[in-house]
Symmetry: D2
Subunit: 225 residues, 4 copies
């Protein structure tokens, strides 16, 4: 008799567990060094987990970092199978583009605008073919000056314009980090400095920047159906 | 007796002529291909002469083109003696900076921001040492999109910020072409195209662009004391 | 009776045809504009067919062009499935690298050395997984000066060194176009001009260049087991 | 009588001193960071003084460093008056070109080949107008690989070709550092490493490199009439 009870309990807990496990949405954050650092303690992914906890939704979401330093859209395309599809996520947030632009200047090895859009679209198509919900992100900043006078603002705006329109046309949620950063800097950068507000070095997020991105992305992720 | 009269008249007319000649202010336009083309028929310098004529000031100004295609600030520095100082102008308008930025992308041979400011200042100092009045110009555009999404808008804004401040600190008149173009494009480029409004090819002025620049510069030049 | 005979003949011819068809080795040439133009009349692929015909091996080889203008190694990786694997070739010759280097200077969008090797290796692995024989090619030239004074000779040599070693380590046949061009130019470019011997514009093959490449590749292809 | 003697001695020593002073040839080394470091203890200029001493020619030469980090040919042109002509040297050695090429890749701000030649020639002309003997130097290395596979070998060779020919046509002594380095590396770099033989970082001279350059330049300087 006892045996039956314990067995039933065991089964019940398995059922509950699997129910719980199934309910958790796995979100993969697919990106570059900003996302690689975002998965470390204090990073935006870890801070988003705190937000999730504070809203008692810990059982709803599992956050997985898939960022690699120096990555461009072509690198994401190459490691899509191994680093994302194999993890069978429900949601993938793509946060890529800064190196595609930055490396034009740094090393002559950025990504052509048209190629950027082609590889980006190819990634989205493959994710959708695996029934994964895609969230688009515009590239934040390379330099924090608020008056469009950072060296590569023009290209960041150009690529962001495409991303916003692509998200709209394809009905994908879009975390418009570029606009959110811009608005924050207009309000908070009176002396027009090029770093130190949300980034430590013009590109990589400092503590405040990680918190800022965590909140910006969470606003979108939490409401995904 | 008659002889004396005709001689007196002759002398008088010489005096008048030389008076007239002395009164003409010689303005040298010192720049790149935009200014080289500005000196050709239909160019902004020739159109400015029409404005001068329509305001009956033909006897006041002599306009001289000194633009050479592909020039950067370093080239102006090198040919300052030969092409400008030797002409003994009263006024020099410096319109340089587009190639300094553009060639970074075109050929890897633009001008570092700090070097740009150093050579620019060295040119101004030499002109002032020759008692020449200097007029500063901000670089117009590389691409006519109105929303800061032209590839090199960031650098054009960065270099223009320096020029505006340099003019202010050194009490030089400044024709802020960059801002004037920007305002015109916001008002007149609803579909956000990258060329065809004031330029033919994103950089070089079309007929309307030459007229626009002629008027913008004339507003400043006409009031110089 | 006749019926049987004609039927037998029909069957026999089918068998022969299928035998013939099966015997033909399909070779896909995978590359950039040089290969795209190589598939046009007078191009190196078409000239190689003439060589094949003159050696009575028309029934042995089927040559298929898969070159697209402007392509880099990342583009080949993206269209590998659609443009190569889907055609089920026995042999694939990869002729890529010039734009990966050239575009560093042209547009700031070349391919980092390490990324080049990673994408290249990923392509080879996928081809080998489909039992396809891979032939490696070193990039020919960007400029025909013979004394290592073409602007991007250093990088062409650097990437070629990697390709030669990669081919050796992985026991892949390698058509060393770079060395063959170099040797030809040392012998035939006494005035050290930068184009007009094997190329029309420093990069794309002229008639002689197409013939030269056809012969160089054919030497390797004809002997593949 | 004594008075006369001491006066005569005094005069004689003045004459001797002035003779000695006049005899010393002042050599200015005009260049970039390599030359700036060359003027520090252990640098090539200081080591050349040791060579001069060992050959008992200390009274013949006075060596003056005029190198500034990051300089290109345009910078030398700008500071020619202040840093060279004002010092009234008999000899000026120009060692410039590495940043003109390197910065194309580093920052998009190198010097066009044609502009390099124009500014170089303008510097030489100004030095010659001041009766100064000019010594030309080819740029050493950006990377020490011996097989023409350093990223920017092509351009270093291209600019060096021009310098060698310019020196020849204008009958200027030329210290062909590029060729001397190349020969040294072919003999001494069996594993084809990119730094550590004559440079510490592919460009700047280590102790051995400073000694090497001191000797190479001294060979030419010592025999100047």
């Amino acid at each position: 008799m006892r045996k039956w009870i314990s067995l039933s309990l065991l089964l019940a807990s398995f059922v509950l567990m699997s129910f719980t496990l199934n309910k958790k949405k796995k979100v993969v954050f697919f990106g570059d060094s900003i996302t690689q650092m975002g998965a470390e303690p204090g990073g935006y992914i870890r801070l988003m987990e705190d937000l999730i906890k504070s809203e008692n939704q810990t059982n709803e979401f599992e956050l997985v970092g898939a960022g690699i330093s120096g990555n461009k859209v072509t690198d994401l395309y190459m490691r899509l199978e191994k680093d994302v599809l194999s993890k069978q996520p429900q949601i993938v947030l793509i946060y890529i583009g800064i190196n595609d632009i930055w490396h034009k200047r740094l090393a002559g090895t950025g990504t052509d605008y048209v190629k950027y859009t082609e590889f980006y679209d190819a990634i989205v198509k493959k994710l959708q073919a695996a029934n994964i919900q895609v969230v688009v992100c515009t590239p934040s900043v390379i330099g924090e000056r608020k008056d469009h006078s950072n060296e590569q603002d023009g290209e960041l705006n150009m690529y962001s314009n495409w991303l916003r329109n692509y998200a709209k046309v394809n009905q994908l949620p879009c975390v418009d980090l570029r606009t959110e950063f811009q608005n924050y800097l207009i309000a908070n950068n009176p002396s027009n400095v090029e770093k130190g507000l949300l980034t430590s070095d013009r590109v990589h997020l400092n503590a405040k920047g990680n918190q800022f991105v965590a909140e910006a992305i969470w606003k979108t992720i939490k409401d995904l159906k």
